[in-house]
Every structure is written in structure tokens, then in C-alpha cells.
Subunit: 130 residues, 2 copies
């Protein structure tokens, strides 16, 4: 399927990127925020598996390629200005590289950040192989 009409509606920034929020489709949990370029969005729409653009590695990053914790795309939504995406996904296992279900596990309370969720998997178990 041709996705040009969707891709053309996205306002990629000066670096060719757009922020993408991943939300678990059924529970509503906000799992993470990452970045996509045009190729990442195109691949995600074509394959149904979420692919981001890693700014640190400067390349496409198929979520779960190292950790096995992939995201299946349920629906991609574009915001009013076209400069943010919301990905409804089905997250396999944990979204965060720390082994936590989501990346937003630190809450501002009483002037400090408090950890409100612990790892479900040890990071070494996620990244220890190959």
C-alpha cells in the first residue's frame, strides 16, 4: 500500500524527525517517546512493526531488535499540526531499556524524583544475548 499521503501530512523537523508517543492500545499506558524519520514511519506502516530512528546511533531502530521487546502497530495517529505522532501499539514485554514496563517511572514528588516502578526484567537479560 502507498503511504505517501500520510507521510506528506507529517511535518518533520529540521533534522527530518518527528516525536512519536507509544501508547499501549488497550490499557492506555504511555510507554515511551522516541523519534521517527520518514523512512521509519513508512516501514512501520508497511510492516506493522514499530521502527524508530535512533538519534544516538543515527540509524533506523526496529524496536526490539536487540532486546526482543517488539511493538506491533495497532494504529498510527497524526496530531493537528502534523508535528507529533501517537502510536497505539501492542508492546511485547517491557518498553524501557531499564527493564521497566514504561520509561516514565520517575515522578516528581515533594521536590524530588521518586521511582514509582521497578524493573520487571533485568537489563542484562534483555541485552545479554548476541
Amino acid at each position: 500500500m502507498n503511504h505517501d499521503a500520510i507521510l506528506d501530512a507529517i511535518a518533520f523537523d529540521g533534522q527530518g524527525l518527528v516525536p512519536a508517543i507509544a501508547q499501549q492500545h488497550d490499557t492506555g499506558e504511555v510507554l515511551m517517546l522516541a523519534w521517527m524519520n520518514r523512512a521509519a514511519v513508512a516501514e512501520t506502516l508497511s510492516k506493522g512493526r514499530v521502527c524508530y530512528f535512533s538519534r544516538s546511533r543515527n540509524r533506523l531502530w526496529r524496536k526490539g531488535e536487540s532486546s526482543g521487546q517488539a511493538q506491533r502497530l495497532v494504529e498510527l495517529r497524526v496530531d493537528c499540526d502534523g508535528d507529533a505522532l501517537l502510536l497505539l501499539v501492542d508492546q511485547q514485554g517491557v518498553a524501557c531499556h531499564t527493564g521497566r514496563r514504561d520509561c516514565f517511572f520517575r515522578a516528581a514528588r515533594d521536590g524530588a524524583l521518586e521511582e514509582i516502578a521497578g524493573p520487571l526484567v533485568a537489563p542484562e537479560a534483555l541485552y545479554g544475548h548476541d
Copy 2:
């Protein structure tokens, strides 16, 4: 209350900004994505009313200052890398400047973007006054 410990944990980008996701605290709806600078985060934590940084107007933007559709902060969370925020909020009325409840009202379906939610309020009603 002093919020320096929280502010120092946030990795603002080269423009001094960090993306912030606003999520309705009780329903889990992802309402919008906007940007904050250090002053916006500090004010939001101090006052309990969400303040963003408007990139187009290049100034602090107290959500609802024109539209009346303010966001009360329930909890601010920081992600694993410190470069994204999740704001649990109580949204008064609608979050989107188009009069829709949230900004993500366009879904990718069959190669095109389909509107999946309509305005609850006319934009003129939101911005018509002063």
C-alpha cells in the same frame, strides 16, 4: 518548594526544550504533545497549572490563557533518559485548538488520514474573545 533536583534531572535539548506529553490522568487519553523549557517546568511544578513554551510565539504559554481550556497538573513524570516528560493532567474542556478533545484526531487507515473525532467546541468560541 525548591524543584532544582527535578529540573536538574531533565535533559533539555540544544534549544533548551524538552517534549512533554499531556495525558488525562483518569481516562488515560493522550491529549497533546507540546514543549517546555526550564522556566515552564518550574512554573508548572510551583503553580500546579501547566505552562508550556510556545515555539511559534517564542514565549511561555500558560495552557488555556487564550482559550480558557486550562490543564491542572496531577503529576509530572520524567523518562529514563530525562529527555521526555509525561504530564498527568486534568484537562478543562478541550485540549486541541481545533476544538477537539485531543490533538490526535487523524488516524492512518487504508493509506490515508481519516478524521476520527470532531470538534466539541467551535474554535471561534475558544478564541473569539479578547
